[in-house]
Symmetry: C2
Subunit: 199 residues, 2 copies
Amino acid sequence: MKNTIITISRQYGSAGRGIGHKVAEKLGIECYDSQIIQKIAEESGFDAEYVRQNSEGTAEPGFFASLTGMDLFTYSNRDTIWILQSKIINELAEKGPCVIVGRCADYILRDKYDLLRVFIYADDKDRIRRITEEYHEADAHPEKHLVANDKRRATYYDLYTDQKFGDYHYYDLCLSSSVLGLDLCADMIVQAYDKVTKE
Amino acid sequence: MKNTIITISRQYGSAGRGIGHKVAEKLGIECYDSQIIQKIAEESGFDAEYVRQNSEGTAEPGFFASLTGMDLFTYSNRDTIWILQSKIINELAEKGPCVIVGRCADYILRDKYDLLRVFIYADDKDRIRRITEEYHEADAHPEKHLVANDKRRATYYDLYTDQKFGDYHYYDLCLSSSVLGLDLCADMIVQAYDKVTKE
């Protein structure tokens, strides 16, 4: 078996994380997600929540940033987190076949490993329901929360990679969890993995 | 069984047509592709090859168009073809579940039928091999032929629809035929079709 890594990029609220864990369970391999944040926190000394907010463009811009349009106070910390994130993702991939959810793993590993690059997306209605009822992350205006998060994630990708978030050129399959459901998405990824690892 | 239509949009040279026929065969339903061109030709009086070149942005701009930057002589014919194409695609969809390859069928049918909207793409290397060896459509510069065709198809979509060609928001699944192969692409589409028609 080749050391093929499944990377799952996903729209916020699309259940990409849940699908990633289902895939890993079916294949009997590890799925890395929040462990990466924890490892970055341990190695950097930053608080885990601070890492989470600054490792995928999740953070709201600070007060000064909102005045100047620049993220003056967190920029260098984000860079530190990006470097650690890259190092940790490379170390995890080296251990063997696995699923890595988010964190630009597809970009970080692109020249070193065989990848199956997945993108998961969903209808806004489903995403709003999920971030409200399951993640409990939305405030009084979940629609605005969603749009703001999408923008920040896309901007983060623009800043740290030369890929465009959600552009099919950078993925091997892109699946709507709203239409296909979580189980069929996971089944399809397993089928794709079997296909690419048997060649 | 609901009257669900499978629409396959595809990058030029990605084998979307071949995948569409495989899907139709597996499901025991019709696959419409070049029949649509033939029907437009019959109803309009235009030559079938002329219809083909003007029904999806395949045509090279003419001599005057290249001088002025406007497609002066074919614009109204293209409009006629678009109107006939819309009418014929609606008539075909009305007959029952089917696969329709290309021709903006996803856009034309979007408010009238349940759709499974597929996008097929492939690596440039595979597309160049296919348009050269299988379609025999490329000239001495297949790379340029590919780029020009991609641009024209995207421009055609911009002109006649309010969708963006290849943007995941407009599809339910997007599959790389280079990575997955034609058979697995077809299998996945059948699985997705079974999923959406059973709900």
